[in-house]
């Protein structure tokens, strides 16, 4: 294992210290509970937005805390859900009297821990909490026989759009309904060229030969649905775009926000090359790209590979997408 670390057990806490040191203008970090807070919050009358999950997906979620996005993010161990204590503390910390929305990615551990936190918050009394669970990954069949689809790329788009709506002063129910609408209109699919190494494990989660790739991966270094021979970018783009487009389905005349995300170890030059392929495929399908996002936003440590997310976007969603945001991970309009 070659990593820029001191001790494997200290990776998360030391990275949080680095975030606090790098962004003292925007962030405040509760190191004991491992919670990243927006520096200028809580703001009276504003719905609080919190998310959280395992670490190793940076900039998600801590890098999306700030004006126009999240009010707090709970950091778990690498690829491990945070615990109810953290979510409880964050919920109390961002409650400004208008209620709190929990944004949860659909993984068994995340859902269970956020559920326990919501139950404890109800028993604790006071804060009104609603939850939205993202589940946009078309690689997983949504059926009684699986844990359901994973929450992946749409989570980033949702945190931005819903964050803008909360900033406008909308009610908790309105913000939660919007979050559900974003999730319902988003779909994603990912692939990996390499595995990644969880610091505590010390070796790659799986082995991939030089001429192989994994298609249908999530964001935890887990193997995908299929191992296939490596293919040119144009063919890989079709393997990702076709199942995404076919699933909602996105149709001729639809406008979308198109998001090509890097898994952490792929350079931007390749992500733009992929975006070019994706844009051509969408153009051929008669789908208009209203806005785009290209870069490493929801990652899987140093895994090489990418994912494609489409979000069907009407004028309102595009307007909320364009609204000012000032976080370490996304910043425009300010």
């Amino acid at each position: 294992m070659k990593k820029l670390i001191n001790e494997p057990g200290d990776v998360v806490s030391e990275a949080l210290r680095g975030m606090a040191a790098a962004h003292p203008d925007r962030l405040r970090v509760d190191h004991e509970n491992r919670i990243v807070y927006r520096k200028d919050g809580p703001r009276p009358g504003k719905v609080g937005l919190i998310s959280g999950g395992g670490s190793g997906h940076e900039p998600m979620h801590g890098g999306f805390v700030g004006l126009g996005m999240l009010d707090a993010a709970c950091a778990g161990e690498v690829f491990t859900s945070p615990v109810p204590d953290q979510m409880m503390a964050a919920t109390r910390g961002v409650d400004a009297g208008a209620g709190v929305l929990h944004i949860v990615k659909n993984y068994t551990g995340d859902v269970m821990n956020f559920e326990m936190a919501a139950e404890l918050a109800a028993a604790d009394a006071g804060t009104e909490v609603l939850s939205v669970v993202t589940n946009d990954d078309v690689a997983v069949q949504d059926s009684l026989y699986t844990a359901g689809r994973r929450g992946v790329g749409v989570t980033v788009l949702l945190e931005k759009i819903v964050g803008a709506a909360a900033e406008e002063g909308r009610s908790l129910q309105e913000v939660a309904d919007l979050a559900t609408r974003v999730n319902d209109n988003g779909r994603s699919m990912g692939m990996a060229l390499t595995s990644c190494t969880v610091p505590a494990a010390g070796k790659p989660t799986f082995e991939l030969a030089d001429n192989e790739m994994e298609v249908g991966i999530g964001i935890h270094g887990e193997p995908g649905r299929q191992r296939l021979p490596l293919a040119p970018a144009s063919e890989i783009a079709a393997m990702l775009v076709d199942p995404v487009v076919g699933d909602l389905p996105y149709q001729q005349g639809d406008a979308v926000i198109a998001f090509v995300n890097g898994m952490g170890g792929t350079p931007l030059i390749e992500l733009y090359l992929m975006y070019n392929e994706v844009a051509q495929l969408l153009d051929r399908a008669g789908i208009t790209v209203a806005r785009s996002l290209v870069g490493n936003y929801i990652t899987s440590l140093e895994m090489a590979g990418c994912s494609v997310t489409l979000l069907k976007a009407d004028d309102e969603l595009v307007r909320l997408w364009d609204a000012p945001v000032n976080t370490p991970g996304l910043r425009w309009g300010v």
């Binding site: 395992g54 778990g76 161990e77 690498v78 690829f79 491990t80 859900s81 945070p82 615990v83 109810p84 204590d85 993984y107 068994t108 551990g109 269970m112 821990n113 559920e115 326990m116 690689a139 997983v140 069949q141 026989y145 699986t146 844990a147 994973r150 969880v198 505590a200 494990a201 989660t205 799986f206 999530g218 935890h220 270094g221 887990e222 193997p223 649905r225």
Partner: protein, 207 residues
């Protein structure tokens, strides 16, 4: 049975999880996200720290505190699941004296019920429940046959091991391994494995 006996179980379980951390993480690398051993070790070490800091008057108080510690320290799905087991196990023993094989059986049933409620798994989904369910059945059958606590726990641990081994050919339908679909077959479930370790530890210490 005294509080001290249950403290011995928790200490033994902690050293067992520590010794098997790499093994559990290795199993989890094949079909999950390579953290199960590290998480169980961290959680049970926190339970040991709790035992160092505090003394407990009753078994139910001890088990509930241990459960809350696991919920707070393990993370993932295993934290809520094992934490819920100990919370319910402790709650069922509140005010119970003496703690007989039957009383432990009731607590065992309450704990497994909590896991089922939180995890919503069914038998054959390739989860820890595939070890818990046959273990509980074997425990009950042994007690019904007149077995003492040691005998019943040994029967439970043996049944858990069989359940654990039976997860190998299964296709996962719950938890992170379910994302692999057919590719999850041929691997032993890490959760069923840690459950078996916990019950083997109980059989060694709670008698």
């Amino acid at each position: 049975m005294e509080v001290g006996t249950f403290v011995s179980w928790l200490r033994d379980a902690a050293s067992t999880m520590h010794d098997n951390a790499s093994y559990l993480t290795g199993l989890d690398s094949a079909i999950g996200d390579a953290d199960h051993g590290a998480n169980m070790d961290r959680g049970f070490q926190a339970v040991v720290a709790l035992l160092e800091e505090s003394s407990f008057e009753s078994v139910d108080e001890l088990m509930k505190k241990a459960g809350m510690t696991l919920v707070s320290k393990v993370g993932g799905a295993s934290g809520p699941l094992y934490g819920t087991f100990f919370l319910r196990f402790g709650t069922a023993l509140a005010g119970v004296s003496p703690i007989t094989a039957e009383a432990v059986g009731e607590a065992f049933r309450a704990g497994v019920g909590g896991i089922l409620q939180r995890g919503k798994a069914e038998l054959g989904d390739k989860t820890m429940y595939d070890a818990w369910a046959p273990a509980l059945d074997a425990y009950d059958a042994a007690v019904a046959d007149g077995s003492d606590l040691a005998g019943a726990l040994t029967a439970a641990a043996e049944a858990a091991a069989k359940g654990r081994d039976a997860t190998v050919p299964l296709v996962a339908r719950k938890g992170r391994a379910s994302y692999l679909g057919e590719r999850s077959a041929g691997h032993q479930d890490p959760g069923a494995t840690s459950t078996t370790l916990l019950l083997e530890s109980a059989a060694r210490t709670l008698a």
